[in-house]
């Protein structure tokens, strides 16, 4: 345990205002003011709304990533969350404030199944199992026509309902700024939660399991339960993000939400930003996605996503700790 504590202080978990925290606060402040800075430019706002949503995916992925596991199957949670919330709101007419948490629980249920299947697997074999796992909810959604409308997908999903706070009327339907702040608040909550998890006993246990599983079990950490619990948390928030995606974009189909894209994206951001850091994954999402949308997409309309593969290859070969991880290592 002593080893873990010293490791943490090296990773900037010490108290007081460190350069780490200052840059984090400045970044959040910039994000808060972004709608003012871009003068309501809807395209830029939309891109950053999506970037924040992808950042939440990367943060959720990283809860599991902290234990050292690499999952290639988070699209299963994303898609099931999106479908659960979409179907509940469309067919049963439930309010989104109920369906979105339910979507999280659906995804967590799927995470439980996946956790049971993958319990014995480590490292590469775990990654392969998660890769195969996506196919199952995807094919079922594709074929269960009566409930999911099959491969055509769901069109015209309800958007977020407008809120009335006293005299303040917030309409998510027409205002991109409102949608932006909605996702921003979710992002902040998740960032806070991930920060809390990293410092909590759960986080310490997961890091111990990552570093040396047998030794961690010897000091009384129940590795399997902790790993499963982190999988459930990770799946829950991925499902919530999937539900948010469904109601923001308002169109989903099995190939889209269960596609490899949504498995790859959180993993790429987490590995490029730094798997074992709190804000690295979010930072990577907020840099790489806008870079892709503003520069690579106009340049190469088809095939611009090679950028994601290229940054992943670069990170694995030259920056295994991720760029935020490397910066932290240098400053400390």
């Amino acid at each position: 345990m002593i080893n873990i504590k010293t490791k943490n202080s090296r990773h900037g978990f010490n108290k007081g205002l460190t350069p780490d925290k200052v840059s984090l606060l400045m970044g959040l402040f910039l994000l808060l003011l972004l709608p003012l800075l871009v003068r309501q430019n809807n395209y830029i706002l939309q891109v950053f709304t999506h970037a924040l949503l992808l950042a939440t995916l990367a943060l959720a992925w990283n809860i599991l990533g902290l234990s050292g596991s690499i999952s290639l199957g988070h699209a299963a949670f994303f898609g099931s969350g999106a479908y659960a919330s979409a179907l509940l709101s469309l067919d049963l007419g439930l309010s989104l404030w109920i369906t979105i948490p339910l979507a999280g629980f659906t995804a967590a249920g799927l995470g439980f199944i996946m956790g049971l299947i993958c319990m014995r697997l480590r490292g590469a074999y775990f990654a392969l199992a998660t890769l195969a796992f996506i196919e199952i909810p995807r094919v079922i959604t594709d074929n269960w026509d009566q409930v999911t409308r099959g491969s055509l997908g769901l069109v015209g999903l309800p958007g977020f309902p407008s809120l009335n706070l006293g005299t303040w009327h917030i309409d998510f339907y027409s205002s991109f700024t409102a949608s932006y702040y909605l996702v921003f608040i979710y992002f902040l909550l998740l960032l806070g939660l991930v920060g809390f998890i990293f410092r909590s006993n759960l986080g310490l246990a997961l890091q111990a399991i990552r570093e040396e599983e047998i030794a961690s079990q010897a000091v009384g950490i129940h590795a399997d339960s902790f790993r499963l619990f982190s999988m459930l948390l990770s799946a829950f928030f991925t499902g919530v993000s999937g539900a948010c995606y469904a109601h923001l974009v308002r169109y989903i189909n099995p190939g889209l939400v269960f596609g490899l894209h949504f498995s790859a994206i959180p993993m790429i951001f987490a590995i490029c930003g730094g798997r074992f850091t709190i804000i690295g994954p979010a930072l990577a999402a907020l840099i790489i996605y806008p870079l892709d949308q503003f520069i690579f997409h106009p340049l190469i309309p088809t095939g611009h996503e090679f950028l994601y593969g290229a940054v992943l290859i670069f990170a694995v070969l030259f920056m295994p700790a991720g760029f935020w991880g490397s910066i932290q290592r240098k400053t400390n």
Partner: protein, 285 residues
């Protein structure tokens, strides 16, 4: 009818063996999981399609070109893999996943997302032998795959090089101690893998529709067969390929073709959950 299903299952299964062999060989010798395997097969298919469509090259002549292109790419991949740090298996998955994305998007850029098929009228003709109905395409797949498997068997079990390769697959350190240059064996595995992919790609292109994202399915197939067989067992790979082919054929007949994609994934999950080191293997990889 059931015999027809059986024969088509064996035919497609033999082709799956051909697809998986390259993956299994590279994995066995170097311990790198190459998730870009399916993308490479599809890329070889695209090369063949392009030569056949634009330059009207005879289909048989597309094989050497596809093999040559794959040779260069695989040697490049080998150099990238060689730079990886520990844990090798996991990092190779992440690295090759990135490569798969790069190759997939390059194909999207070069060949667009349209569905392509190398149409050879002869392959679609049917014939029947007693009760068994078969297309010439299925027969070609079956025969070519069996020939390649036979040649690989000769190479692996009847030559000195094959012996060295098998030794490296079984125990890298012991092989190195016995004086086998393990690095060169790795390079050789990639070269042999390139030949196998270069053979499988054009065949894939004339029996399946080519589009950039289809490679994922091929990769999953190769992984499933390799894990089923355990490491370094040619007989296991043949058995796995046939079982997978038959399972798919029967699923298509019994449940409909839309459930076919789940067979591979389900089989892989069951394998990983209960027998992660292969049906035939009992030691840790």
């Amino acid at each position: 009818m059931w015999t027809t299903v059986l024969v088509s299952g064996i035919s497609i299964g033999s082709f799956y063996i051909l697809i998986a062999l390259g993956f299994a060989l590279i994995f066995g010798v170097t311990r790198y999981f190459n998730l870009a395997h399916g993308e490479l097969v599809v890329l070889a298919g695209y090369v063949a399609y392009w030569l056949w469509d634009v330059y009207a090259l005879s289909f048989v002549l597309t094989f050497p070109v596809a093999i040559l292109v794959l040779f260069l790419i695989c040697l490049g991949l080998k150099r990238l893999f060689a730079r990886l740090t520990e844990p090798l298996e996991l990092n190779s998955i992440v690295l090759s996943f990135g490569m798969a994305i790069v190759i997939q998007n390059s194909m999207l850029f070069l060949f667009s997302g349209n569905y392509r098929l190398i149409r050879i009228p002869f392959l679609n003709k049917n014939f029947h032998f007693h009760e068994v109905y078969m297309s010439y395409g299925q027969l070609t797949l079956l025969l070519l795959s069996l020939i390649v498997i036979f040649l690989l068997y000769i190479l692996m079990y009847r030559t000195y090089l094959g012996k060295a390769l098998r030794a490296t697959i079984q125990d890298k350190e012991a092989a190195a101690l016995a004086g086998i240059n393990v690095t060169i064996m790795g390079t050789f595995a990639f070269c042999l893998g390139a030949v196998l992919i270069g053979l499988a790609g054009p065949l894939y292109g004339c029996t399946h529709y080519l589009y950039p994202s289809t490679g994922h399915e091929v990769t999953l197939l190769a992984i499933t067969i390799t894990i089923f067989a355990g490491v370094g067992r040619l007989s296991g790979i043949i058995l796995a390929g046939w079982i997978l082919g038959l399972a798919e054929s029967f699923t298509v007949i019994l449940c409909g073709s839309s459930w076919r994609e789940m067979v591979t994934a389900l089989l892989l999950l069951i394998l990983l959950a209960f027998k992660p080191y292969g049906i035939l293997g009992n030691r840790e990889p």
